[in-house]
């Protein structure tokens, strides 16, 4: 214990002569350009495939019919509605979005008296951040679903010119597995396909074909757990 130990704490008083470091106007502080704020959805680009709902581990997303958007080939007519009581802003829904229609703005203040209004359909319920340019967008070179289509081999023109052999050579087993791996099992093409009875996408077992896991051994020990479908339930444990 020295004289310094007694006197040194009094240097704290020098802060009397400093300017405050607090933010003068905290209500209008803009978030960083890549801040993961409130959702935006380009409803014209969105096809209602429901992959965002599948990946949401909080069960925050519901697919709901929207007035003015018709079900047609390649568009289920549903749009994601997000329950902000459950959302954790992890942005997996943005990363997984097939059409890149779902993004996040960098807006982060939203005040309402009615808590039910925080369950909203982005892009359909108009919000002040709908046209915000900054915010989180999935970088194009990163995918969490395999989206690069495997190239299918074809016969060389020199060979084709004098033969009736099938030009398109199809996939090998490995390539076919990789190609099947890209399927997100949204069910949109299956709903309109003639063979939909044969390729019944809606049963959990075939929604995510076991063959897709190229590296996994086929094991009889399936876990005593529900298939991925369970995570779509709002109250997934």
């Amino acid at each position: 214990m020295s004289v310094r130990d007694v006197l040194s704490p009094f240097t704290a008083w020098k802060n009397l002569f400093r300017d405050p470091v607090s933010i003068p106007d905290p209500l209008n502080r803009a978030a960083a350009p890549r801040y993961r704020g409130f959702h935006q959805n380009d409803v014209e680009k969105c096809i209602g495939c429901g992959t965002c709902e599948t990946i949401c581990q909080n069960g925050a997303i519901d697919m709901v019919p929207v007035e003015g958007i018709e079900t047609k080939s390649g568009d289920s007519g549903l749009r994601p509605r997000i329950d902000y009581g459950r959302c954790c802003w992890c942005a997996l829904c943005v990363d997984v979005c097939m059409t890149k229609s779902l993004t996040m703005s960098n807006a982060y203040t939203w005040v309402e008296n009615d808590p039910d209004l925080f369950c909203f359909t982005p892009g359909v319920d108009k919000k002040h951040w709908d046209n915000a340019e900054l915010g989180y967008h999935c970088p194009t070179d990163r995918r969490i679903t395999g989206q690069v289509r495997a190239h299918m081999r074809e016969l060389e023109p020199e060979t084709r010119i004098d033969s009736f052999v099938e030009i398109v050579q199809g996939y090998s087993v490995e390539e076919a597995i990789l190609e099947a791996d890209r399927c997100v099992a949204c069910g949109l093409p299956c709903a309109t396909a003639i063979t939909s009875a044969a390729w019944n996408c809606s049963t959990p077992a075939t929604r995510f074909p076991a063959s897709a896991a190229a590296s996994a051994p086929t094991s009889a020990r399936t876990p005593a757990l529900p298939a991925t479908k369970a995570t779509r339930s709002p109250s997934a444990g």
Binding site: M1, R4, D5, V6, S8, P9, T11, A12, V21, A31, A32, P33, R34, Y35, R36, T51, T54, I55, Q57, N58, C88, W89, C90, A91, L92, V96, Y136, P139, D141, R142, R143, I144, T145, G146, D181, R182, V184, A185, F208, P209, A212, A213, A214, S215, A216, P217, S219, R221, T222, P223, L225, P226, T228, A230, T231, A236, G237
Partner: protein
Amino acid sequence: MALYTPDRSQYPAKKADGTLDIDLASGKYLKLWQGPNHPGITGNMSVELTVCGDEVVEGKTHVGYLHRGFEKLMERRSFIQCFPIVCRICVPEPDFNEYCYAAAVEDLSGIQSPERANWMRALILEMGRINSYLMYLGGQAGALGLGVIGQWTTYARDLMLDRFEEMTGARIYHMFILPGGVRDGLPDGFDQRMEETLREIESTMKDVHDVMFHNAVFKKRTVGQGVIDPAWLDQYGVTGPNARAAGVAKDVRRDQPYLVYRELEFEPVIGHDSDIYTRSDVRRRDLLMSVDLIRQILAKMPRSGPLIADMPSMLHWKIPRGETYVRGECSRGEYGYYLVTDGSGFPRRVNVRGPSYTHAMALLERMIVNINISDVAALMVSLHTYPPEIER
């Protein structure tokens, strides 16, 4: 070095099963709950004290106020769906959860995260370490009545949160370290803003040093108080600054270098007196070392290249049967994930090894005996425990 002495002459005898024979009806003893709502407690925890006069006879740690069952929840989430929830296991320093989980999944699936992603990860982890230490210094000073330190360190931490915000897109739960890599690279002009932040933190730390560490009251109450005997380190699984303050240079970054720590120059910070003062000082110096590490990382890290490995489709990603353990050196000690997979799309078992698990339970219960009630808060904070990683 004043060591803990088990002098129980005026205290109750031990019963045959090793517990104390405390007769509350005699009026000699009093039960006192410190926490869960108490300014002198770290997070959602409480200590049940039995006191005789001013002196603690027995202390029992109670946790469970923030139990969310993450380990169980992860068993019904696919590997990518676990990624947003792991960070919630430790609020002030969430990145170690993300890193350890990602590294464990990569280890079992045979994926290698790219070089640039490893540098980004190391940068995030060091930034998180600074945040965690700043929060700790405020708490340690606050536990002894020095409220102003907490205000200064909160300011410095806020600047670091700004850097986190522009880099990861979030302030507290960054959700940035995906299995396979990281989400994004550095934003434009980040280096310069980071350098300004680091200078501001250094200047704050100088003030903290003057007011907290050269302080007669602080020294009087912490020097020689709450000593961890080096012999306890293995018995109680003590790691991190708690072990380094006892003179043992236990540091996973040096012992089993992960990420890019082989390419960085640093020496584990150690102290020798193993009391509360030394532990605070080790953490202060460790913080300054992290500042230096961030500068080294920014100077050496590659600025181009892939940020994430080629991954299978994460919607139906299955990992072959196996088990692994991955560890890192967080601000409190060894943080680790034990992951067991069974060939399905879900983890079979995840176990989180948080350093607080041993520090706040067995070690604290041992150290709390024979100290004054007014020192309990300082002792508890000096072990730097975060209850959520005890109960997960």
